[in-house]
């Protein structure tokens, strides 16, 4: 009788695993077909070697993690890309909880302290675990929709002007936006293939609307060298009087 129960449990577990595998494979195939039709590059595995070095703690969470289903515009260098990210956290009893997310990464021409703009009511798993202060902005509708947390409230005020707030409210998907150093990260619970393509297109809009004053107040981090230490101290800029971002480099 015990053997029968064991066999039954193994069959059920195997069936669930097979269903998940087929569902995952089906989603991947659907994304591959969509990318082929729309001229977007696709890779089942992460072909970029900088994903683990993105300045977000989210990519260090969990006991195991992985990047997959990466898409980016054809002819682009992949600086702007959308991918699936998963991580699994195990508790003391060894029971693992897996989290599946879809992320978009966009480069920025400046280096701001950590900033998070999260839709109110969004799942906790998408939140960056950084020490920040809540910031209230001057647009009530925006404050009702989003919660803004920033390590430097001045950076949040500089980054989120009227145009930027409108751009975020007009995003077609419900995503959390995190900014740290020279990267913007848009995060959402696992999206459907069509929504991933939509996210790739929509991710450029907030980056294009970043106020030019942010680059003047928070210049990009220089390469390792004599100026890096001064940048870390907040006392150096390549050209503080005319530092304006070249947003055309983002394409689109």
């Amino acid at each position: 009788m015990a053997l029968l129960w064991l066999v039954l449990v193994l069959v059920v577990a195997g069936t669930i695993a097979a269903i998940r595998f087929r569902r995952r494979g089906g989603r991947q195939r659907a994304l591959m077909v969509l990318c082929d039709r729309t001229g977007v590059e696709f890779s089942a595995l992460d072909p970029f070697n900088d994903s683990n070095f993105l300045p977000f703690r989210l990519f260090g969470r969990g006991d195991t993690r992985g990047f997959e289903n990466v898409i980016w515009d054809r002819g682009d260098d992949g600086a702007v890309r959308v991918f699936d990210y998963w991580f699994e956290e195990r508790d003391d009893d060894g029971i693992g909880v897996k989290h599946d997310l879809t992320c978009a990464v966009v480069p920025l021409p400046f280096g701001v302290p950590p900033l998070a703009v999260v839709p109110r009511g969004m799942a906790e798993v998408t939140r960056e675990p950084t020490e920040t202060r809540t910031v209230t902005l001057d647009l009530d509708a925006f404050n009702r929709w989003f919660e803004v947390r920033a390590a430097d409230p001045r950076a949040a005020v500089a980054f989120l002007d009227q145009r930027m707030m409108q751009a975020l409210m007009r995003l077609p998907l419900r995503v959390a936006m995190h900014v740290n150093e020279d990267r913007m990260l848009l995060v959402a619970p696992s999206l459907e293939p069509g929504e991933m393509l939509l996210l790739l297109e929509a991710s450029r809009a907030p980056a294009k609307r970043v106020p030019p004053v942010v680059a003047s107040l928070y210049p990009p981090r220089p390469a390792v060298g004599p100026y890096e230490r001064r940048w870390l101290q907040g006392s150096w800029s390549p050209d503080p009087t005319s530092a304006r971002p070249n947003l055309s480099e983002l394409g689109g």
Binding site: R163, T241, S242
Partner: protein, 221 residues
């Protein structure tokens, strides 16, 4: 009887601890407002420091526009000397911004000046400074708004009264400098040679439409 005494003592301790936390938060907010005001002051001084070079550059091409130069120099001196409350500083900024706009409007009449590298660099720096000033002003007003809300709300208003925390002033641009739909007006009535001039796209001291100066549309449903 003993239990009631413990409850009363616990309530007193809670009130005292809450009061101390509220007082400390008022102190932090007031220091934050002072820091934010210092940022505004820095950007204002940065803007004032650009004016002598700008006047000298324009004078090289339009030496006869003496009244314009005198106006902007006088307004700059008054604004630089203004100290004290944000309202007093904002009041001094009004004539200065108007005079500066007039100076830039004069420059529009001289194509050689508009192509001058030094003038272009100064104009770019002035525009950058205006953006930074706008950001500093928004940051300052946001902190003042939060602080004033606490000073005027119950129960923090009780702590505010005991601690002599008074509402702070906002730093606001004079509404009389705004034209229709937020486009600033330039007064040419005092100019000696009133030629047709195209107003600058981004007037100093005022947010342009590209910077989000127009009111936001209602959020989509």
């Amino acid at each position: 009887m003993g239990i009631w005494l413990i409850v009363v003592l616990a309530l007193i301790v809670l009130i005292v601890v809450g009061g101390i936390a509220s007082y400390n938060r008022f102190v932090s907010q007031r220091n934050l407002i002072k820091d934010a005001w210092a940022n505004i002051d820095t950007e204002l001084r940065r803007r004032y420091d650009l004016i002598p070079n700008l006047v000298a550059t324009v004078q090289g091409y339009a030496a006869h526009e003496k009244e314009v130069f005198e106006n902007v120099t006088r307004a700059r001196a008054a604004a630089t000397a203004a100290t004290g409350s944000p309202a007093a500083q904002a009041a001094a900024e009004g004539p200065f911004v108007a005079a500066l706009r007039q100076l830039l409007a004069v420059a529009e009449n001289y194509p050689e000046l508009k192509a001058n590298e030094n003038f272009l660099a100064l104009q770019a720096e002035l525009s950058n400074t205006e953006d930074r000033l706008q950001t500093a002003r928004r940051f300052y007003n946001a902190n003042v708004r939060d602080y004033n809300s606490r000073v005027q709300s119950f129960p923090s208003m009780i702590v505010a009264r005991f601690g002599n925390f008074e509402p702070e002033e906002f730093f606001e641009v004079d509404e009389s400098l705004r034209g229709d739909a937020g486009v600033p007006r330039v007064d040419f009535s005092s100019m000696s040679n009133p030629a047709p001039v195209t107003p600058p796209a981004a007037a100093p001291g005022e947010p342009s439409a590209a910077q989000g100066g127009e009111p936001p549309p209602p959020p989509p449903s």
